[in-house]
Symmetry: D2
């Protein structure tokens, strides 16, 4: 069981849609689309991926981290440090 | 003919690899991977997409924009304005 | 008392250094520095600001959010939702 | 003379406003503002810096790069490569 387990189908669906967006990009390049027209489609796929990452992170805070904090002890602190590092990498990527 | 035409095969290959990364994400979610382990894989796909966008943009500047500027007249200015807007959207996405 | 209270002096110092970086940018523009040389200095100030934001957020999770979660009840969930929104805005800015 | 020379006063003014935003952040931290309320102010300063960077870059393309391209020869190509690298760093910062 993960924080995102109850939304698993929704995440699977969103990732399949992103896969479709990437295939759409392949088609655009294959058909010599105007470069400036390809960029917004790349940005759309990038934003959709970021949005999945943010959703997973929120689910993680709300379940996995919250449970470790409620249980008390060093594990809660460790989970928060781990989440904070993941947030940093996300902001900087 | 586009700025990226001569590198078309390389772009196609990179986009197919990104498609594979997105399918890898689907697998991770399907197999209940630990949330914090999914995030770096999302970041890798995001960076790979950004890198394609930056490559297309450089090719665009080096060919389409440079040719319009060399030809002189308002079209060069227009192409630079259009590229600058695309850069802004890329930085903000 | 805030999550960052015990590090207040360190944050104050970092923000003063960023203020100095912004004044350095003013000087560069005033002295007609080469545009391409100004950009990395802007990026350095931007990264320093982001890093302050990430530090404040980690302190917030480790103190304010953790305390609300430990106390139990809807306030903990609300604090996590609020933090998740702040993270989203940070990633997208 | 730089691409941004004719807009120098406007850039100086924008950078002074950003300096004021950073001083406002110092005040917030000094007065123990709620962490989640500080983050949007940091994001506002970050966006303002990014916007200055994008403005300088557009001026650079429209003047310095365009002139080198019009003059013909390897200098134009070199300027485009340099600008493309600067754009990459901007997108990734």
């Amino acid at each position: 069981m993960r924080g995102y387990t109850k939304d698993k189908d929704a995440y699977a669906k969103r990732l399949r849609r992103i896969e479709g967006q990437v295939r759409g990009l392949q088609r655009m390049v294959d058909e010599d689309a105007y470069c400036i027209d390809v960029l917004p489609q790349i940005a759309a796929a990038t934003r959709a991926l970021q949005s999945v990452a943010l959703g997973l992170l929120e689910d993680h805070l709300a379940h996995c981290v919250a449970q470790a904090v409620e249980a008390g002890g060093p594990d809660g602190e460790e989970k928060i440090r781990e989440a904070a590092e993941a947030i940093s990498r996300l902001v900087r990527s």
